[in-house]
């Protein structure tokens, strides 16, 4: 068990290293550098100011040296300052993390809460209209672009029915109810794809498990059909589902960006989009690293949940 965690942490470090290299050097394969970005279109014409800025920013030092300076900073919690706003990156990221996490978590909860019952009911009623309806829902969820669904939800529930506020963000600790009301539509939009994937996974896993001998054996004990399906069928079907959910975390984080833009949520995704438009390289680097970290963390958590669910798994 301990061996497993040591190995997992080492792999994670390697991945983080690779991501850090890519995110650092990607800035240099793009046309224009930080100095041009800061000076803007007209300022770039002044060679003197340009040279001065390059010197100031340390852009004249060799790349490798600059990479290690940057990594050294990151390791001590110093991500540098944003080229756009000039504020320290660390606190800015932290502030932006909250809304994104709230959005991602609410989307996860929605997706799981809808998908598991739908998947189970579809599998139990396989090859009936119930199953077809479930598959349709799943495919629709996967096929519809999240941002489009977000806009439609906004039109319908906010603009026409006026049930929900159209957009914005309130921290959950300031006004929990309003915070959740604001987040419902973007979370549902973000959940749709994940929901589709989970429905299909639950249905497939469940169909598989329901043909197992231990299901017939469980039935032969005289427990109710409901117990057979939930206690034995679903519990065994959840194993592959947990893996899928873990793997989808990256997609969810990426999908969050578009919805943060549509719903004016000041989250990481929006920050990433803004930073890319502004060529705020220091910020982009930090965001990439943070995304990689979150994805790695979620896969780590997935493995631990999996191990808890499946007694046959002993990591060593």
């Amino acid at each position: 068990m301990r061996n497993f965690y040591v190995r997992r942490v080492l792999t994670a470090l390697v991945v983080l290293f690779i991501v850090s290299v890519i995110s650092f050097f990607i800035a240099f394969v793009l046309p224009g550098d930080t100095a041009t970005a800061m000076l803007g279109e007209e300022g770039g014409l002044d060679p003197e100011r340009y040279a001065y800025l390059r010197e100031q920013l340390g852009l004249n030092k060799p790349l490798v040296v600059r990479y290690f300076e940057w990594v050294g900073g990151v390791l001590t919690g110093d991500f540098g300052v944003s080229l756009r706003t000039n504020e320290p990156i660390g606190p800015a990221l932290l502030r932006r993390l909250g809304p994104t996490m709230q959005l991602a978590m609410m989307a996860m909860v929605f997706a799981v809460c809808v998908a598991i019952p739908v998947g189970v009911v579809a599998a139990v009623n396989s090859r009936t209209w119930v199953d077809t309806a479930g598959t349709l829902l799943a495919l629709t969820g996967i096929a519809i672009p999240a941002f489009w669904l977000g806009i439609m939800l906004m039109l319908f529930f906010a603009v026409w029915l006026k049930w929900l506020p159209p957009s914005g963000y309130v921290p959950i600790w300031e006004n929990p109810l309003e915070s959740i009301r604001l987040m419902i539509m973007p979370a549902i939009a973000l959940a749709s794809g994940l929901m589709g994937v989970i429905i299909r996974q639950v249905r497939a896993a469940m169909l598989d498990v329901l043909t197992e001998d231990f299901i017939t054996a469980a039935r032969s004990k005289g427990i109710t059909e409901r117990q057979v399906i939930l206690r034995h069928g679903l519990r065994n079907s959840l194993l592959p589902v947990v893996t899928i959910i873990g793997l989808q975390m990256g997609h969810v984080m990426a999908g969050a960006a578009a919805l943060e833009v549509v719903f004016s949520i000041p989250g990481l995704g929006r920050l990433a989009v803004d930073s890319i438009f502004f060529r705020d390289f220091t910020m982009i680097q930090a965001i990439m690293l943070l995304f990689a970290f979150i994805v790695l963390l979620s896969s780590f958590v997935t493995d631990m949940v999996y191990a808890r669910l499946d007694p046959r798994i002993r990591y060593d």
Binding site: D213, T216, A217, S220, K221, N236
Partner: protein, 363 residues
């Protein structure tokens, strides 16, 4: 019911399959075709036949364990203590399962839920039928595990199936089956997945539990050797039908028809050192979707005559033994064109192939 089975039956058998039919795929596959089988209280009965003959289909029909969407059970009756189980509601059937009739499955590796502790899996059956306090419940689990010979049950009850060997898992399956003290146990190939030593141990366990708890059992197997010291009576099944039935001693002493002879020759651990050991029956059982029109065994039978392919024989008393011994074979029946196997010693070389050029299998 036109063709009656053996006349011997307890006044009211515990279980009576009365002309039972089970079919799959909208009747396209008739896996059980008109079976008549009786089990008295405390009696042990064998159901023997090659793989694919419909033994499991019959056993699962009793507990209604088939997928109802593609299975039809009936016509026929499944009388348990005089009640027709086919008339019960799903809830009524649930109350029979585990408490009145329990089943033990072939493969202990796949019949236990891998993500539930064995203690919980034993308790599940108890909880389904009885209201027990937590302490009484635990005591019962420990008692059951001890009964089937699992060492240090208090720690083992918290283990998962993968932490047990195949033989131990089969013991747990037995403990589950026994948990609510059922009157009848359906043991479906319970030793097939085990090696020979474990087979003997598990059979011995079943035998002693059966005697001490007055359990009736149906031992389902493809191996006549398993049935030998374990059962009072035997039903031999072929292609969805009962083809021979007799008291176990009688069946071994005077097997009537060629399919049973084939099973005897293919049984691995028969005591008598007869001919060559383990000669499998040539060919395969017929597809149950399209069985032969005459005697179902005729295409594989080295003793067949013209009548065999023309007409299907009834299950009729064997003239050599008493009326309790019946066989579905023209060779044993005194009708026009039949009866040529009456008194034939199955161990003797097959000199009797006048119509077909088939060689004897016991050369």
């Amino acid at each position: 019911m036109t063709v009656s089975g053996p006349a011997r039956s307890p006044d009211r058998p515990l279980l009576h399959l009365d002309d039972l039919h089970t079919s799959f795929a909208q009747g396209a596959i008739v896996a059980v075709e008109g079976i008549d089988l009786r089990v008295g209280a405390g009696e042990s009965v064998g159901l023997v036949g090659e793989s694919g003959c419909g033994k499991s289909a019959a056993a699962k029909s009793i507990l209604r364990l088939h997928d109802p969407r593609n299975t039809r059970i009936g016509p026929g009756r499944i009388l348990f203590e005089g009640r027709d189980l086919l008339q019960l509601s799903d809830e009524g059937m649930r109350k029979i399962r585990g408490r009145e009739i329990a089943m033990i499955f072939q493969d202990p590796m796949t019949a236990l839920d891998p993500v539930m502790t064995v203690g919980d899996q034993i308790a599940e059956c108890l909880d389904a039928h009885e209201r027990l306090s937590a302490t009484a419940r635990k005591a019962r689990i420990l008692e059951l595990m001890k009964l089937v010979g699992i060492p240090s049950p208090a720690t083992r009850m918290r283990c998962y199936p993968h932490q047990f060997s195949g033989g131990m898992r089969q013991r747990i399956m037995i403990a589950i089956a026994l948990s609510c003290r059922p009157k009848l146990i359906l043991a479906d190939e319970i030793t097939t997945a085990l090696d020979v030593t474990l087979q003997a141990q598990v059979l011995e366990l079943i035998r002693s539990l059966r005697d001490s708890m007055q359990l009736a059992t149906i031992m389902i197997t493809h191996d006549l050797g398993v049935v030998a010291g374990m059962t009072d009576r035997v039903y031999v099944m072929y292609a969805g039908q009962i083809v021979e039935t007799a008291a176990t001693d009688d069946l071994f002493a005077r097997p009537a028809m060629p399919y049973t002879w084939g099973l005897l020759r293919s049984a691995p651990d028969l005591e008598a050192p007869v001919v060559e050991r383990m000669v499998p029956i040539e060919g395969m059982p017929p597809s149950l979707a399209d069985p032969p029109s005459g005697c179902r065994f005729a295409p594989r039978c080295p003793y067949g005559r013209e009548i065999c392919e023309r007409a299907a024989p009834p299950l009729a008393p064997n003239p050599v033994s008493g009326p309790e011994h019946a066989a579905r074979c023209w060779g044993t029946q005194q009708v026009k064109g039949g009866g040529w196997l009456i008194g034939h010693d199955w161990r003797a070389p097959n000199s009797d192939t006048p119509t077909s050029g088939k060689a004897g299998t016991n050369a």
